[in-house]
Symmetry: C2
Subunit: 214 residues, 2 copies
DNA sequence: CGATGCTTGTTACTAGCGGTAACCCTAGTT
DNA sequence: AACTAGGGTTACCGCTAGTAACAAGCATCG
């Protein structure tokens, strides 16, 4: 049990793992989220059981793959969120960063939003809750902490911040998804519209027709 | 080609179709979205090919199934949205209606959010865009039309309304999904927090620490 | 009456998936 | 030389979606 040997092997295994992940990345980027384990193994130049030895099951591989992209995206978002500017500018920069990312690599984005979808036959468990992609959850929590750290929201601020975190992330996600499909306007316009929504223009707008009854 | 006969057969087919849909409904409600065609056929007391004759493929069945629930939910939402009350109350009622629905039947909700996920092997097409569930899209569009009809938003109102429609729906969806998993507060509190967000409390809140640079 | 279709239903199959058991082979250790 | 440890492969299991191909019941036409 020599430690140097162990680290040697660990390193080798880690390098292999990274190679496999990059191959998987290529396949997912080409075939979308339904890339098969066979295809990934073939792309990596090896066969299935090796994949399973490294990642356990398809969910494990997908989780590892998703973590890389999610971490990268979250780093960008944190940078935008931490920029030295006023709140509105920071919000717009964060929205724009996210939208630019999903615009640049839609397949990766799609993969992140529709992960494993697993559920092997023998498993009787049926996880209500945790439907959405881990990316959404992580972004929501991240934003919640930022909000709670920086904003003075009075009593119940922690809970309020978490609701807002997940809500805002969901708004960004859904609007981005729709925008990516239809492209009804430029990215800048979308960012501005969403920021306007968050800035209370919905509440401030006047009614169009007659009295408030309608 | 007697018309009466034709309607006769049409009626019979429609009744069968409804029976099959109800059986499928039971199975999906029990087994979740990964219910197999075999299981659905067994529940309906028949065998697979009949399902395929009626619905084409799994996507077809799921689409038909989703349409029923989506229509029902949209009707409830429209009712809440059309209530004779002021805007804030209507928004809160709509949020609450949606959240109550997903709370009452989480499996149906999950099914609606993670539909077919189809993609047969031979099909090289890869539809970027249209990732999210049809339910989200339809709710977004619906809300957009309501906003555009009732609010005076100045120039570019149509585009703004659509962005807001999809954004608000996404906010509701993501917050609801998270809430369903963690149950960190009551439904009423969640509704209130989200309405507060839409009412601009994010923009109105004060900074917690020092100057605006941070 | 018999033949023709049409709908309803079945059995039996294909092709591909995720996942695994069993084996092989090479390297290094004692 | 014997023996173990990993990396690798073949061949399989059970499952899925989807599809022939065939077997009735029942109307209509010649």
């Amino acid at each position: 049990m020599d430690t140097t040997q162990r680290t040697e092997q660990q390193r080798s295994a880690d390098r292999r793992r990274r190679e496999l992940l990059e191959a998987a990345d290529r396949v997912v980027l080409r075939d979308g989220p339904q890339a098969s384990m066979n295809a990934i193994a073939a792309e990596a130049g090896i066969t299935k059981p090796i994949l399973y030895r490294h990642f356990g099951d398809k969910g494990g591989l997908y989780a590892a793959l998703a973590k890389r992209h999610t971490d990268a995206l979250l780093d960008s978002l944190r940078a935008a969120l931490d920029a030295p500017a006023d709140r509105r500018e920071r919000v717009e920069a964060t929205l724009d960063t996210y939208l630019a990312a999903i615009e640049a690599r839609p397949q990766v984005y799609r993969f992140l939003m529709h992960p494993a979808e697993g559920g092997q036959p023998g498993d009787p468990g049926f996880d209500v809750g945790k439907h959405s992609a881990p990316l959404l959850r992580r972004m929501g929590e991240e934003l919640a902490t930022v909000i709670e750290e920086r904003l003075d929201l009075g009593p119940g601020s922690q809970q309020l911040a978490r609701v807002w975190g997940h809500g805002i992330v969901g708004m960004m996600h859904a609007a981005g998804d729709w925008w990516l499909g239809e492209r009804p306007c430029t990215r800048a316009e979308l960012v501005r519209s969403l920021a306007d929504l968050l800035w209370g223009r919905l509440a401030a707008a006047g009614d169009k027709m007659g009295g408030p009854g309608f």
